[in-house]
């Protein structure tokens, strides 16, 4: 049994403990430890990607207890992609935070490491209760990161975010309690075996469980009626933290995809529970995101609403659950995470130069480095709005193609193309305010602001920006990997064989 699947969890966990134990260290030493840990993690993530490419599901039995009694970690293509995405983002966010963000409060790097450990754990686990535990680890770290830097606005956002997520956790636990009570298992692969055998009397209860789990995951993914927390929270956090939070909505989407593709699609009575309403709510989320983008008075608020839009687009693919839609969704998820994460970092770079005006869309001092920052803005704006020729266009095209034959296809095409148009308009308007209308009367007091030396932030931005053309040029291998991932995810029996072995060999008592 190779120990590879547990490394992406252990590495940041050990680094976090190390950072806490030696918390009296100099800031420079903390930064070095944190960056080194994330650098190692990135290497491990690449090894995971390469290892998972052979198409076998690698199972890591914790304590060597056999599933379904013990807890397992699963490393398949989907987990490997998510771990790689998280690790890459972690490197960039950690670098960006060294430009001053990490000294605004205590223990920034330790919380960052805990957050990444929780994220990687959520992506690797094959057990639903373990998923809950990793959700709580990443949430607790995110509570601390959100209020990092202090101030009333963050405390206000923090209180509502914590209360909301505690309610979400309570729902999650209710779902898990009922699931174990009815099915007698919490292992994802075991669901495939147990679900088709559910007694007629228990079916209603299992449907309730599926719905509750979907609500919990969609709360994290910020779907329409329960997603209004997102812009509020993301704009309250410091900008590098907001950049990291981009992956947080993807955890909800990942969990829903994983659980519905492996588990709930296995039995007819749970397979089509999401289909009637999820696409419409996803389209509604995109529209609300468009309204939010139009109404935004700050650059950060625009990007936060772009995260809503990309979440809605991804959920369209989850609802459809075909090989084409899953591979489109994976490609879109990778590129939209990179692009929106980079946009938050770019907003940070711009806000630093504009002094008191910050990221507000008002007349401010002239931005130095018009060519570099302006060029970066143009690149990211093209990618995020889905205009050709960059990766956003390819991702959107794949999503549109996969939805063409579906019931909501026409509506989805209309809404997605409309949202692209609105995003282009808003980003162009914002750029003209930020880059082209500086120094109007009354703003002279800001004009003395000089470029803050921020090497960490600059390198993080360069790293994220470089990923955009790389993803565009390498679109063919990436989409081939995404396609193979979708095929793997839909072959449920392979998971059962890898995790459980022979399901008929397990003695199951009839539960009273």
């Amino acid at each position: 049994m190779s120990h590879l699947p547990i490394l992406p969890i252990l590495l940041p966990l050990v680094a976090a403990i190390l950072l806490l134990v030696t918390s009296g260290m100099e800031t420079a030493a903390k930064r070095a430890v944190s960056l080194a840990a994330f650098g190692l993690l990135a290497i491990v993530a690449v090894v995971c990607l390469v290892t998972a490419a052979d198409g076998t599901v690698r199972v890591y039995r914790l304590g060597d207890w056999p599933a379904p009694y013990g807890i397992v970690l699963m490393l398949d293509r989907l987990s490997a992609i998510m771990v790689a995405l998280t690790s890459g983002l972690a490197v960039a966010v950690c670098m960006a935070a060294t430009s001053g963000t990490d000294t605004q409060g205590k223990q920034f790097h330790a919380f960052l490491q805990f957050q990444i450990a929780g994220l990687n754990g959520a992506f690797l686990t094959g057990d639903l209760f373990n998923l809950f535990v990793f959700f709580e680890i990443l949430l607790l770290a995110s509570y601390a990161l959100l209020v990092h830097g202090g101030g009333l606005a963050r405390a206000r956002a923090g209180v509502s975010y914590v209360v909301l997520n505690l309610c979400g956790s309570a729902l999650f636990l209710v779902a898990l309690g009922l699931l174990y009570g009815t099915l007698g298992t919490l292992n994802m692969a075991d669901l495939v075996v147990v679900l088709p055998q559910v007694a007629e009397a228990d079916k209603a209860l299992v449907k309730v469980v599926v719905t509750l789990l979907a609500v919990v995951f969609l709360l994290k993914a910020a779907l329409l009626p329960i997603g209004f927390w997102l812009p509020h929270v993301y704009t309250a956090a410091t900008l590098p933290v907001a950049s990291l939070f981009v992956i947080m909505t993807k955890v909800g989407i990942y969990a829903l995809l994983r659980v519905s593709a492996i588990g709930f699609a296995a039995a007819p009575f749970t397979a089509d529970l999401l289909q009637p309403w999820l696409p419409w709510l996803a389209l509604g989320t995109i529209l609300i995101g468009c309204v939010g983008v139009l109404a935004a008075k700050r650059l950060g608020m625009i990007v936060a609403n772009l995260v809503l839009i990309s979440g809605g687009t991804l959920l369209l693919g989850v609802a459809e659950l075909s090989a084409a839609s899953i591979s489109a969704l994976i490609f879109y998820m990778v590129q939209s995470t990179v692009v929106t994460g980079a946009l938050f970092l770019l907003v940070d770079a711009l806000a630093r130069q504009r002094g008191e005006v910050g990221d507000a869309l008002e007349d401010g001092p002239k931005v130095a480095g018009m060519l570099t920052l302006g060029g970066a803005y143009l690149l990211l704006a093209i990618a995020v709005s889905g205009a050709p020729p960059l990766t956003g266009f390819l991702g959107k095209l794949m999503v549109l193609q996969s939805l063409r034959e579906t019931e909501t296809g026409t509506a989805a095409w209309f809404v997605l193309l409309l949202s692209g148009l609105i995003v282009v308009l808003v980003l162009a308007r914002a750029a003209s305010v930020v880059f082209w209308e500086p120094g109007s009367p009354g703003t002279e007091k800001h004009a003395t602001v000089t470029l803050v030396a921020a090497p960490g932030l600059s390198w993080a931005l360069i790293l994220m920006l470089a990923a955009v053309p790389v993803l565009t040029v390498a679109a063919s291998p990436v989409s081939a990997y995404a396609r193979a991932t979708a095929d793997q995810l839909l072959s449920r029996d392979a998971y059962v064989a890898a995790v459980i072995g022979d399901p008929s060999a397990i003695k199951r008592e009839r539960r009273p």
Binding site: G151, R156, V162, L166, A170, G177, G181, R511
Partner: protein, 109 residues
């Protein structure tokens, strides 16, 4: 027995939800605590109701109860306790900064 337990869980959860919807942070914290009691009890009862059956295979015992919900509920209690403690600290900090214990902290945005 089943009716009594279900009613008890329902009343606990209803009380919790009522308190969560109150406008002061203190009642929200109390509400979340009540709700988590209800949830923990629900997980515990997922192992079926029954008296004097041990969670281990003991010689001479007349049957045994499922040990897994007991392990799950322990984890859930610990996590819930930690989260509530954090929320309490955050609410106190927010009250110190804003001077009010209203959940909106006296702000309108």
């Amino acid at each position: 027995m089943e009716l009594l337990v279900s009613l008890g869980l329902g009343i606990l959860a209803a009380g919790g939800i009522f308190l969560i919807l109150r406008p002061t942070t203190f009642s929200v914290v109390l509400g979340l605590t009540l709700l988590s009691y209800a949830v923990n009890a629900l997980i515990f009862f997922g192992g079926r109701l029954g008296a004097s059956s041990p969670p281990l295979a003991l010689a001479g015992a007349s049957g045994q109860t499922d040990p897994l919900p007991q392990a799950l509920v322990l984890t859930a209690i610990v996590i819930g306790f930690g989260m509530t403690a954090y929320l309490m600290a955050l609410a106190l900090k927010a009250k110190g900064e804003s001077g009010t214990d209203h959940v909106d902290l006296g702000g309108d945005q």
